[in-house]
């Protein structure tokens, strides 16, 4: 076993607009190594993978695979050069069979026509070789999530890569299935190849890895052997310090309840009360179900067993328009697709939720509308040219301010904020945090969903953690318990 690294990453940097996703990241992956990559959401792991797979072109830096320079323009090329990837939610062609998915692009033919029998046999033998229990003839749509990952794995391994990237593959796995996966990976590694493994399941990472690389805020913290590390130590390195002065000092909440959320049929016994002026943070990893939770409260998703009250009044079932007139506001996570209409003017976007208040005898009073919109845009510091310009003439940070200006016009009592500063530069972030603080001071109750821990801690009076659709409530906020939140979100017990 030589000492030469399998993969060398040198000074990798990538920015997306104002966000620096990766900054001067350098480390090495040894051959025959189970090498894990850990970090919080937004630490840069996905960007790193995308650079390796050629989905994204780095601004600076380069790669060396087995001593030779490596630079590709897409996953196909990456496969040809020896790097393959398996993802948490692999895309499969649902209407095709497992066999057809597996051998896509190279279906066995006989005199120019696809031979179904050959296809099935070849696919099945591939699957059996890996010891996986999967029938190649099944329609891909019908196989379980975990089998999809295994299918993706077989597909990736059949190209005989030198480096296999696994991005959160065990998210939907039972412990047994995870064992199967790790056995496969171990075989792969014993042949001299390496695995670059990304996971939030820290106990898994510590158990399986030879080496661990920790990223934080786009930068490389360290790369260390897994031996000798325990969970708490690992988390401490992942989380680090947060910028104290980015978050304003919050005023204490009042003692009057504003928002009450209960589950009615006793499933997970939810009972949350948010007082006037209180900001309750909801932390969790991506996919934990937080967006769905907010949407259910808002009435956009079937509320099922949730009962929501604002100032004691129960919200009508599944009517977002009534929820708004009862004082609810939602700032969605996906600004581009759910927050603003990109090909509508700024003024129309801003007034949409509050349009009713500008209607006079059936007609929209455009003068009043423009006046209110102008005031709101000014209050939220939106920099724009003309009100009639389209929304996408504005920067991300400004667009997010428009979203806040929009909802201010409905005079809400409760704000549901879903990742309010994602894709927003530091300057706009600070402004938004101050707006949130001011809203709270006016007596508004706020639910703040975020997967960026420092933000959740800095901007909340107390923090709830969500995992797999279930809220794990924690009534006390202790500033040095941020490690505890990551643990709760990852499912680490103890």
């Amino acid at each position: 076993m030589t000492d030469e690294p399998l993969l060398k990453i040198v000074s990798l940097s990538k920015a997306f607009g104002a966000t620096q996703a990766l900054k001067d990241v350098s480390f090495e992956v040894k051959p025959s190594s189970f090498h894990s990559l850990v970090g919080e959401n937004g630490a840069g792991k996905s960007t790193l993978i995308n650079c390796l797979m050629g989905n994204v072109v780095p601004d600076e830096g380069n790669f060396e695979l087995l001593g030779t320079p490596y630079m590709v323009e897409g996953p196909l090329e990456a496969n040809e050069h020896g790097i393959a990837a398996v993802y948490q939610e692999p895309s499969v062609a649902g209407e095709l069979t497992v066999a057809e998915n597996l051998l896509m692009g190279s279906l066995p033919t006989q005199s120019g026509m696809v031979n179904r029998k050959l296809t099935n046999n070849k696919a099945q033998s591939l699957i059996d070789n890996f010891g996986i229990d999967l029938d190649a003839k099944i329609i891909a749509e019908e196989i379980s999530a975990s089998h999809r990952v295994l299918l993706g794995l077989v597909r990736a391994l059949s190209d005989k890569p030198k480096l296999l990237i696994c991005d959160e593959p065990t998210a939907h796995f039972s412990p047994d299935q995870a064992e199967t996966l790790f056995a496969l990976l171990r075989d792969f590694i014993d042949q001299g190849n390496s695995v670059l493994y990304i996971s939030h399941r820290l106990e898994e990472v510590l158990e399986q890895s030879d080496q661990i690389t920790i990223l934080r805020d786009g930068q490389h913290v360290e790369t260390v052997p897994a031996k000798g590390l325990n969970e708490r130590e690992l988390i401490k390195r992942m989380v680090g310090r947060y910028q104290e002065n980015l978050y304003p000092q919050l005023s204490p909440p009042k003692d009057i309840p504003r928002l009450e959320i209960k589950t009615v049929n006793g499933d997970n016994n939810l009972n949350i009360t948010v007082n006037r002026g209180e900001i309750v943070g909801i932390y969790g990893l991506v996919g934990a179900g937080r967006t769905d939770f907010l949407r259910s409260i808002f009435g956009d998703l079937d509320r099922q067993s949730l009962e929501v009250k604002i100032d004691g009044k129960k919200l009508a079932a599944d009517r977002p328009d009534l929820a708004i007139s009862d004082g609810l506001a939602i700032i969605p996570e996906d600004r581009r697709n759910d927050g603003l209409s990109s090909d509508r003017p700024i003024v129309d976007n801003t007034s949409l939720a509050a349009l009713g208040s500008f209607v006079n005898r059936g007609l929209v009073n455009r003068k009043a509308e423009r006046k209110s919109v102008r005031n709101s845009l000014e209050k939220y510091g939106v920099k724009y040219n003309r009100m009639g310009d389209f929304i996408d003439s504005l920067s991300g940070g400004n667009q997010q301010k428009v979203v806040f200006a929009k909802w201010a016009l409905t005079d809400p009592k409760v704000y549901l904020l879903d990742e309010p500063t994602v894709g927003v530069d530091i300057g706009a972030k600070e402004a938004i945090y101050n707006h949130i603080k001011e809203l709270a001071e006016q007596g508004v109750a706020i639910l703040l969903v975020s997967s960026y821990l420092p933000e959740v801690i800095g901007m909340s009076h107390r923090v709830l953690v969500m995992r797999d659709g279930v809220l794990v409530e924690d009534d006390k906020t202790q500033i040095n318990s941020e490690h505890k939140y990551v643990e709760m979100a990852s499912g680490v017990t103890g």
Binding site: F298, D338, D348, L352, D392
Partner: protein, 325 residues
């Protein structure tokens, strides 16, 4: 001057149409042989009457297109309303006053519109398929109702209206102007209109902003059907008869008119004025073609080419707009 330039750029479709129409009118004036025939009172009125029917259809299509839908059934709807009203009006057996027939026709439009809304909004069927289906069904219904016969003995007062004038303009054209006024008012000045643009632009954003998107789409489809019925009633008045094939193929002219007038099949664009001008332009072109003795199939090619051009221009504008962001 700057304001003028800005106005032109903002209302580029309408401005272009006005320019083309003006150019056409100028050409017909300059060519001496066509000047007398084209600018005769009879011909001008003929143009206006033809434009009125297509124009009203185009206004209905506009609303549906704005919410990102499409209504292929308007030609058949026109025919069904036309035939139903004609049968009721001409029936000695029923002996009902005219306005009963009119109400029935409008009611039919509301029913068909609601039917479309049920399929498209509630069940989620693709509007293209749903309205294509009803287009075929209604055409069959027309033939069943009329027993494949034409209806000719319509009341005198009704056909008088079709030939009559109001302040120098054909009644039918005045009806178009009224429809234009109403549709324009709804689209530009009412909350419903604003919500239609919101839904067509981004249904998710509209929903999360409290817009009752299903209801808005329903209004659009009902409006399209009702306007088609109105057009049918006017056409019957003008023709003094209803034939089973009436309205066939009109849906394409209606959509073409709206799109040429600035509507985008991707929703959230278009104006009532543009749709009307688009329909007028097409009527004009056909008339000019007849005047200049151009083969009618060549005219068909021209109309199709115009529609294609309008869609291409829309696509280019959208692309450029997206790239700038």
């Amino acid at each position: 001057m700057n304001d003028f330039v800005r106005y032109i750029r903002k209302n580029s479709a309408e401005s272009a149409l006005i320019a083309v129409i003006a150019a056409l009118l100028l050409v017909m004036f300059i060519i001496p042989t066509s000047r007398e025939t084209f600018y005769s009172a009879y011909n001008l009125q003929s143009i206006m009457r033809g434009a009125a029917v297509t124009g009203i259809l185009a206004l209905g299509s506009l609303m549906v297109i704005i919410v990102r839908g499409i209504d292929l059934s308007v030609g058949s709807m026109l025919g069904l309303a036309s035939m139903s009203a004609a049968i009721i009006m001409s029936s000695d057996h029923l002996a009902l006053p005219i306005w009963h027939a009119l109400i029935a026709a409008i009611g039919l439009g509301v029913a068909v519109g609601l039917y479309h809304a049920l399929l498209i909004v509630r069940i989620g069927i693709n509007p293209f398929i749903a309205t294509l289906g009803s287009m075929i069904i209604m055409r069959g219904l027309i033939n069943v109702l009329a027993d494949s016969q034409s209806v000719r003995n319509l009341p005198e007062s009704y056909t008088e209206f079709g030939r009559g004038e109001f302040l120098g303009l054909p009644n039918i054209f005045v009806a178009l102007l009224i429809c234009w006024f109403v549709v324009d008012l709804v689209l530009r000045r009412t909350r419903l209109g604003r919500n239609m643009f919101a839904v067509g632009s981004n249904e998710s954003v509209a929903r999360l902003s409290g817009v009752r998107t299903g209801r808005v789409q329903t209004y659009a489809f009902v409006a399209s059907a009702v306007l088609a019925c109105i057009a049918g009633l006017l056409l019957t008045a003008r023709m003094s008869s209803a034939v089973p094939s009436v309205g066939a193929g009109y849906e394409l002219q209606a959509i073409a008119g709206a799109v040429i007038g600035g509507a985008s099949l991707m929703g959230a664009r278009g104006t009532a004025l543009g749709a009307m001008l688009g329909a007028i332009l097409m009527s004009l072109i056909i008339n000019v073609g007849v005047q200049l003795d151009v083969n009618s199939f060549v005219m068909q090619i021209v109309t199709g080419a115009l529609l294609t051009l309008a869609v291409i221009v829309d696509q280019i504008q959208r692309k450029r707009h997206h790239e700038q962001s």
